[in-house]
Symmetry: C2
């Protein structure tokens, strides 16, 4: 079944925003990319929680999650798979960077077709590269999914080889942070590790869920700085995001891995997780 | 004479952009704020040069300056003062961060009224504060005037006191970088210094011009890291941008200064400079 792209701007059908919107002028906003399965948004409460946290960090007026849920329901024109991209900006107004007291917010909700990644990505793993561009470190913006994404755009411009599915990013101090569109985990000596994101990076929904599932299974997990050396020496490496789930990494440049036992175990746990549907209306 | 706000999007009257514009989605673009005096854009060649340099850095398709000049001429509906805000984004297209091969660019040109700053700002100087938020360091984005401006938005949210005209920003290493909307200079022992912007900050048109004028006068100038201590101990401090020219800084929190001789000399040089009009069509 084909999903037709459909867009709501502040709840109304439309596909434009004013040129005065601060999302355009300054990247003054946050976004979520939400998987739809069986016509239902997945991990809805987690997306709402992160969106609210992002708005709170930027000082953007909070919004009613119920309103967004109603809009999501009205826009989903499939009983199958799709993707909702939801953007919340600080709206229009203010000359210069200063936020006017009257500032509200702009909601842009857009339904897209599901990206058909080859099954081999999950089953056989993906090849990656180490990006040249580094991520700047700034705790004020770290963790949230804001609209200032030039670093990711520049990183993604570094390669065109369709065989390379993701680029991994170090920060300016040389620590591993994430992929351009995913979070990254390594397994070393039986310990599951993912980079600390207190200085940069986006704290993905799937990253949190994978950590939770691993802990429920009694796996030893650690959120800490991960050096480039630790990455290369790892026993297993994998990527996560809400659309791909878990992709084993089988290569980073000349370094190669086989899909490891903990990666397979987590893929299995994830596919059996009841988290996907939870919190969405009946 | 009152200036009416007028907007061209890709050369046509309009005030909206598609929600798929990468300027909104990722802050994937650059901008210029251009002063109009006597109905003529000021420092036009310098703005065009910086805009092209920003596009080149981001890999955005180059554009014809002559086209932008024609559009500027058509939009200027005043023989007096005004401001043009010019945004160039990578346009629409591409799923995710990846730039499609067909990517063009979107031009948004908007005429605004001149901001009427009190004459006292130039003549008596301004009070400033030191912002709590720090600027992240990333050479890949430093110097250009790109659309990822959340740091400036957050900095400008730190105060509401109308008596404080500007907030000064340190980077995450503790070095002075700039103001939220201006560049900063200090004078120490007769040497004119402004922070090196190789790691963060926007290289302002007026910053470059002031450095050139100072060098033509045989002043000792230095572009180098400036510590917070050097700022506080400076003999003179001033701010620059294309709309304000030079504003002496008379206070930073509890530290105060008198407007110094070199600041006054540079204000005088600037007001007599022939650079303003140069390069604009007859």
């Amino acid at each position: 079944m084909t999903v037709t792209t459909a867009t709501l701007v502040n709840g109304k059908p439309g596909n434009v925003i004013p040129v005065s919107d601060r999302g355009l002028l300054y990247g003054d906003g946050v976004f979520e990319t939400i998987a739809i399965r069986d016509g239902r948004p997945q991990h809805w409460p987690r997306h709402m929680q992160r969106l609210q946290a992002g708005c709170a960090r930027l000082g953007i007026q909070p919004f009613a999650s119920a309103l967004l849920a109603a809009e999501a329901e009205s826009i989903i024109n499939t009983t199958g798979r799709g993707v909702i991209k939801l953007i919340v900006t600080r709206g229009s107004g203010g000359r210069g960077y200063r936020v006017p007291e009257s500032a509200g917010c702009t909601r842009i909700m857009q339904l897209h077709p599901w990206p058909e990644y080859p099954a081999a990505c999950s089953q056989e793993g993906v090849r990656t590269r180490l990006c040249k561009i580094r991520l700047g470190r700034n705790p004020a913006l770290a963790g949230i999914k804001h609209l200032n994404r030039l670093e990711q755009v520049l990183a993604r411009q570094e390669w065109n080889d369709a065989d390379i599915r993701e680029g991994l990013l170090l920060d300016t101090d040389g620590n591993l942070v994430e992929g351009t569109m995913s979070n990254v985990f390594i397994v070393s000596g039986g310990v599951l590790m993912t980079p600390d994101l207190s200085q940069c990076g986006v704290a993905g929904i799937m990253r949190t869920l994978v950590l939770e599932l691993a802990e429920q299974q009694g796996l030893d997990t650690r959120v800490a700085p991960v050096s480039r050396e630790a990455l290369v020496l790892a026993d297993e490496v994998f990527l996560t995001n809400t659309l791909i789930g878990i992709w084993p990494v089988i290569a980073l440049g000349d370094t190669s891995w086989r899909t490891g036992g903990i990666t397979l175990q987590l893929q299995e746990l994830l596919s059996n997780s009841s988290d996907y549907d939870s919190g969405w209306r009946e």
